[in-house]
C-alpha cells in the first residue's frame, strides 16, 4: 500500500523530472570520460613517432636499416594514394599490393569458413564423425603451416591458388575447433530446459546449440583471420610477384627501408582493424556473451 502512495501524482509533483535527471555540465571531467582514452592514444603515438624521428635522425643506426618516421609515413601515404610510374624499380604501388593481399586473404578465409564451420558443427554434433576426424584435425592443427608451403609450391607453383590454399589451411583449424568446442560446451541445463518444454533433436540443435555456438564461431573466425594473415604473408614471401609479403622482400632487396617499414606498419593497422571489426560484430550478434564473460 505504501508503495502505491509513493506513486500518487500529488507526491510525484514535488519531484519534477529536472530533479531526477540532471544535466551534466560540460566540464573537463565529462570530456575526459568521453574522449580521454582516445586522446591518450593519439598523444602516445605522436610521442612515439617523434622519438623515432629523433632517434633515426641522430644517426645512431644507419638510415638504410632504420628510416625516419616522417619518410616512412610519407612513403605509406604516397603508396596508398598514387599509382606507380611505369619506370619504377618495383612494379605497382602499396595500394595495388594491398588489394591483392586482401583479395587472397578474403577468398582464403571465406573458404576456411565454408569448410570449418559446418565441419566443426558436425564434429560437435555427431560422435562418430568426431572420432573419425579428430586425429586429423588435431594433427594438422598442431603442424606448423609454414612447413607445408614448399609442398604446395611443388603442387601448384607460384600461383594465387597456392596462396589461397595456404590461407585456407591456416585459417581453417581455429574456426573448426572453436565451432566444435562451442557445440561440445553447450550448457546442459539449457538443453534440459529445451527438452522439458518439448523440443525435439532438431529443435534443440537449432534453438539451443547453434545460438550458443555462434559467439564461439565468431571468435574462431577472428583467430582464423589472424592466422590467415600470417599465411598470406608467408605465401607471398616464399613465392609470388604480388602482395604485401612480396613487397617486403622486394623493398629489402632494394634497400628501400622506408617502403618496408611502411608495409609493416600497414600490416599492423590491417590486423588491428580486423580484430576491432570482428569484436563489433560479436557485440552486435551476441551481446549476452560479453556479460557472461564479465
Amino acid at each position: 500500500m505504501s508503495e502505491d502512495e509513493l506513486h500518487t501524482p500529488e507526491k510525484s509533483d514535488q519531484y519534477s523530472d529536472a530533479d531526477r535527471i540532471r544535466e551534466v555540465k560540460l566540464s573537463f571531467g565529462s570530456l575526459w570520460d568521453q574522449y580521454g582514452t582516445s586522446a591518450v592514444t593519439v598523444l602516445n603515438l605522436t610521442v612515439f613517432f617523434i622519438f623515432w624521428e629523433i632517434f633515426a635522425r641522430s644517426g645512431v643506426v644507419n638510415q638504410v636499416f632504420f628510416p625516419t618516421a616522417s619518410g616512412m609515413l610519407q612513403t605509406l601515404f604516397e603508396g596508398l594514394t598514387s599509382r606507380a610510374p611505369p619506370d619504377a624499380i618495383i612494379s605497382g604501388q602499396i595500394i595495388d599490393h594491398l588489394l591483392y593481399t586482401l583479395r587472397t586473404l578474403t577468398i582464403g578465409v571465406l573458404l576456411a569458413c565454408a569448410i570449418g564451420i559446418p565441419g566443426g558443427l558436425l564434429m560437435g554434433g555427431n560422435r562418430y564423425i568426431e572420432r573419425i576426424l579428430s586425429p586429423y584435425v588435431w594433427g594438422l592443427a598442431s603442424l606448423p603451416r609454414i612447413a607445408l608451403v614448399p609442398l604446395f609450391i611443388l603442387f601448384m607453383g607460384f600461383t594465387v591458388k597456392m596462396q589461397v590454399t595456404i590461407v585456407t589451411l591456416a585459417a581453417l583449424f581455429p574456426i573448426m575447433i572453436n565451432a566444435w568446442a562451442g557445440v561440445k560446451t553447450t550448457e546442459k541445463s539449457l538443453i534440459a530446459a529445451a527438452k522439458v518444454f518439448g523440443a525435439n533433436r532438431r529443435q534443440i540443435y537449432s534453438n539451443v546449440v547453434l545460438p550458443y555456438t555462434l559467439p564461439f564461431i565468431i571468435a574462431g573466425v577472428q583467430q582464423g583471420i589472424g592466422r590467415g594473415m600470417v599465411g598470406v604473408i608467408i605465401a607471398e614471401i616464399f613465392g609470388g610477384s604480388n602482395g604485401l609479403g612480396f613487397l617486403i622482400v622486394r623493398s629489402a632487396d632494394t634497400f628501400n627501408s622506408e617502403l618496408m617499414y611502411a608495409v609493416l606498419l600497414l600490416l599492423v593497422i590491417i590486423s588491428l582493424s580486423f580484430i576491432k571489426i570482428t569484436r563489433m560484430i560479436e557485440v552486435y550478434i551476441a551481446p549476452w556473451r560479453q556479460q557472461v564473460i564479465m
Binding site: 550448457e187 541445463s189 530446459a193 522439458v196 518444454f197 534453438n207 549476452w288 556479460q291 557472461v292
Partner: protein, 287 residues
Amino acid sequence: MRLAVSDAADQITGGRAVPEEKKPVIVAKNLTVGYKLHRERKLLTALRDITITINKGEFVCLLGPSGCGKSTFINAISGIVLPWEGSMEVDGKPVTGPGPDRAMVFQDYALMPWRTVESNIRMPFEFQNLGLSKAEIDERIAHYLDLVDLTGFEKSYPYELSGGMRQRVGIARALVTEPKILLADEPFAAIDAMTRESMQSELEQFVSKTKQTVVFITHSIDEAIILGDRIAVISRRPGRIKEVIDIDLPRLRFDSDVKSLPEYSEMRERIWDLVKDEARSGAHGEE
C-alpha cells in the same frame, strides 16, 4: 511479485492440507533410475526402489543431501530420464518423454541468454503445439508476465536482470502452458535470502489459489516445511525414500507466522534428525 491473489486465498487457510478426493497424479513404483558416467564405463544408480504416490493438488517437497538423486526423480517425472526398473506414471500413463502437462523451474534458471524475457516465455509454445491461437498465446504470455511482475521487461535480456527476476522469468515460462504438474529443482537456491522469502510466500499464495500439483526439490528444511503438504526425506545415493512426513500446519504459512508455533520447531527438529545422519555420512562418502 504482485500475484493476483483474491481475498478467497486467505480463507483457504488450512483447507488444502486434506484434499477432499485424493486423486493420484504421479505414481512411482519401485522406480530405479540413474545415468551413465561418460568417462568411465559405469552406470550410476541415482535412485533405488522409489515408491511414492503424489495426489492432485498436493505440494510435495523432496528433501535430501546434495547428490542424493532428488533431481533425477523430477527428471524422471518430466521424462528427460526414463526408468531402468519399476515404473513412473503420470495421470495413469507411463512416462515416455516430456509433455506439456509437466513443466519445470530450474535452479540455474536455464533461460536462453539470446532470447528476450518475452521470447523465453514464448519458447514452450514454439516447441509444442497446444492448440492455442497466436492471440491466445500472446494473452497468456502477458498474463503470466504480469503475474510475476515483469510487465515492462518484455524486451530485456536475462543478463540485464537480477537473479530473482531471472527466476521469475523461469517461473513464468513454466506456468505459461498451465501444466498440471509443476516441477521445481531448487528454484530459490541461488537467490538471495530476502528475495527468496518473498518468492516462497508468493509461490505459496499462487499454489493455494490454483491448487497446482507441485514437486519441489530443496535442501532447506525451513523451505520444505513452509511450502510442503508432504515432505519426502531422501537418503544419500543411491537415493531411497527414508520417510514421508505430513505437514499439517495451517495455510497460508507465511502470513500466519507459522515459524513461531511450537509444532513448527518440533517438526523442524524431527526432520533435522532424519537429515543430519544423511548429511554427515554424505560428507564422509566417496563423493
